[in-house]
Amino acid sequence: MSRGDDIIHQQTRLQIMATLRALREDEAIEFTRLKAIVQATDGNLGAHIATLEGAGYINVIKDFVGKRPRTRVALTRNGRNAFARHVDYLRAILDRPAAPGQKDGGIS
């Protein structure tokens, strides 16, 4: 069984990755829209985006629409693969037969 990804597993980062995974491969999402989906503050979301960007899982694209600055976020191929592996890992935990006498399995 593959190992879980500590960077992705944090709840907000997991939501960010899941949100980006729902987009088309060449598509990016605006920061404001991402903030509404994961329901985080600007600062909190910015910090998690920086962590994911540092891991090479996402790209941050800054540009202008007219005179208005725009920040968009997109999943990298590396991030897409890492997220798929993490989801496989989570599903594998649920598929794993429970040990006799053990109700919930695993150790946190």
């Binding site: 879980g4 960010i16 649920l94």
Partner: protein, 179 residues
Amino acid sequence: MELSPQEAASALRDIETAQQRSATLRSYTLSSPHLVLWGLLWVVGYGLTDLFPQHGRAIWAAIIAIGLVAGFAATRQGGRRAGWRYGAVALTMIGFFFAIFAVMSPVNGRQIAAVIPLALAAAYILLGISRGPRFIVTGVVIAALTLAGFFLLEQHFFLWMAGVGGAALILAGLWLRRV
């Protein structure tokens, strides 16, 4: 990292919720320009039909042609496949309405002008069942306004659809764009 099945299940639920929200907002964003576009076309089309009812067919032939071309251009945001889907949906709708009016013939201009928005309203409600509640609200409002105009404002139905129906579509489009 070692997780319990409960933690894994909770994480998978978070993923599903975020993906659902993302897909819903994406649908809203992609639909928004089409509603604004058709709202503007309703204002022009129904307005002109009210002024020149004898030219209703020519007016709507032009309005539909403009709407389809502009709508096809607006689908570029959704990718190449979205353009083909848009074309297929448009052809299906046109074929459907021709068939309906052929079967129901004779129908007058008011009936045609009411049936099309009602069918579109139903389509939005059906879309909303799987894609998000804002589509349902849009469909219900359009249907209610169309029925109200058809039954209560017989003499001014086209004007009603131009002003109130068109404005409702434009507002719905702007609402869908909001985060």
